[in-house]
Amino acid sequence: MQDISRDLLTQASKGDMQAFEEIYRLASGFVYSVALRITANADEAKEVTQDVFIKVYKKLWRFRFQSSFKTWVYRVTTNTALNTLKKISKEIGRRADYDVALKVKDDRAATTQAVERDDNKRLLSSLLGMLNPDQRACIILREIEGLDYREISKALGVNINTVRSRLKRAREALIPHGKRGDRL
């Protein structure tokens, strides 16, 4: 996520809609991408993005610059997306996206074929579908958004060892060695 200046945040906190729109322009890519990867559903991702920016708008006046605005947005985004995913988790099994993911989980060859077809989008969706929500959030923040362990721990509200453990479990699930029972 791009850096957002203190002046812009201050202006937006006073109700300046132009300043807030600029914050949206700078941060919405991150928020929507993370929400889309976590929920695996475009409609839910739109809802999450909307919720996140409404929360930011309403609470911006309380933001005291004691922590990074980016970290705050990371946290609000991942919490909102994970909560949405938990709410809809009962429906996930019925969704086409996740049907694909589950199929690939059972048949690794399908993933290989997807690589060969250079269907990267589909592959990513399949790989993320193999992970539980917490592992998925960690992998998205690390691999796609490029956050380091400290930033991920703050975004998810967990300690660094939990981040490390979730990444390890996620990668175990992603690599064929893990599937063959060569777990550590």
Binding site: F30, K46, R142, Y149
Partner: protein, 152 residues
């Protein structure tokens, strides 16, 4: 450093650049002499790292910003008073039942019965005060009060 520990680090700190240079050097030394761990590292890179390398950020559709503007501009709903905590609701129900029971009792029992009950209780406490235990033994261990008769 054994293979188990090396593989664990290959899946976390090593690939994520979170490792101190000294440990990284030891891992590289281990990899140079261990074909199994080298194969594992290749698998981690190929299956768990590379697929995400070209992932692109997706921009939110324009409709999202429109929705945000509308939500911000809309007047906030007035708060509705509701008892949120079950404990409060249960306490309110319990209090209502208690008051109903008291009211029903005082409504159905005549003033004479109330006076009789009070006199009996006063007599009982007077016996206790004098330290006489025989009161408890009268009538086969019963207290002989109207309440006891009612329940027995």
């Amino acid at each position: 450093m054994n293979c188990k520990k090396v593989k664990e680090l290959l899946m976390t700190d090593y690939v994520d650049g979170e490792m101190r240079p000294g440990i990284q050097h030891r891992i590289r030394q281990h990899l140079a002499g261990c074909s199994d761990c080298r194969g594992f590292e290749e698998a981690v890179q190929k299956e768990a790292i590379e697929p995400f390398r070209n992932a692109q950020r997706v921009q939110a559709p324009g409709i999202v910003w429109e929705g945000i503007k509308e939500a911000i501009a809309a007047p906030e709903k007035a708060p509705v008073f509701i008892i949120r905590r079950p404990a409060f609701a249960l306490a309110a129900v319990a209090a209502l039942i208690f008051l109903t029971a008291i009211f029903a009792r005082s409504f159905f029992i005549s003033p004479g019965q109330v006076t009789e009950y009070i006199e009996e209780q006063a007599a009982f406490f007077a016996y206790l005060d004098t330290g006489v235990n025989s009161f408890m033994d009268e009538g086969g261990g019963g207290l002989g009060t109207s309440i006891e008769e009612y329940f027995l």
